[in-house]
Symmetry: C2
Subunit: 119 residues, 2 copies
């Protein structure tokens, strides 16, 4: 996972920084934050985040998400993996399926970076 | 400007939607929101947003921003144009320079979409 190479969890990556509109962002911080936004900047992945969050108990496997897209299961699995790798989704394996859960704190930290709204 | 083709301002584009974690995002909404996140998902553009917001009176021209980057003025102007086209920066021409200003409401709406924090 690329983030472990930085020895920072993805959440720490974002929580490091003041809101975008409050003070200049450092070059280092911008390099760490851009990949999270890039992972989100895709219509399928945006929908996957919302579908996982809205699913029963806040978690879902690719088997639960298939029907919402006209895409193959491997393609959906790939998008889920991208979101997991940047730290926007947690995952755990149970039986034959991998279950995903939104890391709400990562989204909240991104929201704070963009909006500067209080926690 | 691509957004005018949709007959929606960029801010309306995002403000249309419930927070990502509250209910499934529609395919249409995800297609409209992804370009804003994609515009932000670049280290130079993230820094430009923060530098413009932090500049005197909350506005800056490319002449004010040059020194922060080891990039040519046309390259920085290109990044500013990308941010303007998706509706994250306002601009106005005065004399020979174009001055940019962060559209705080667009960032706040994106923040609400991601974090679901109250206004």
């Amino acid at each position: 996972m690329s983030n472990s190479a930085l020895e920072l969890t993805p959440v720490e990556t974002v929580a490091c920084c003041s809101p975008l509109t409050k003070e200049p962002l450092s070059a280092d911080a911008s390099e760490r934050i851009a990949p999270l936004l890039k992972a989100l900047a895709d219509p399928v992945r945006l929908r996957l985040m919302s579908l996982v969050a809205s699913h029963a108990d806040g978690e879902a496997c690719v088997c639960d998400l298939n029907d919402a897209f006209e895409l193959s299961q491997p393609t959906i699995s790939h998008h889920l993996k991208v979101l997991h790798e940047v730290g926007l989704l947690d995952r755990s394996k149970r039986g034959v399926w991998v279950y995903y859960r939104v890391k709400a704190e990562a989204l909240t930290d991104l929201a704070l970076l963009l909006g500067g709204v209080a926690r």
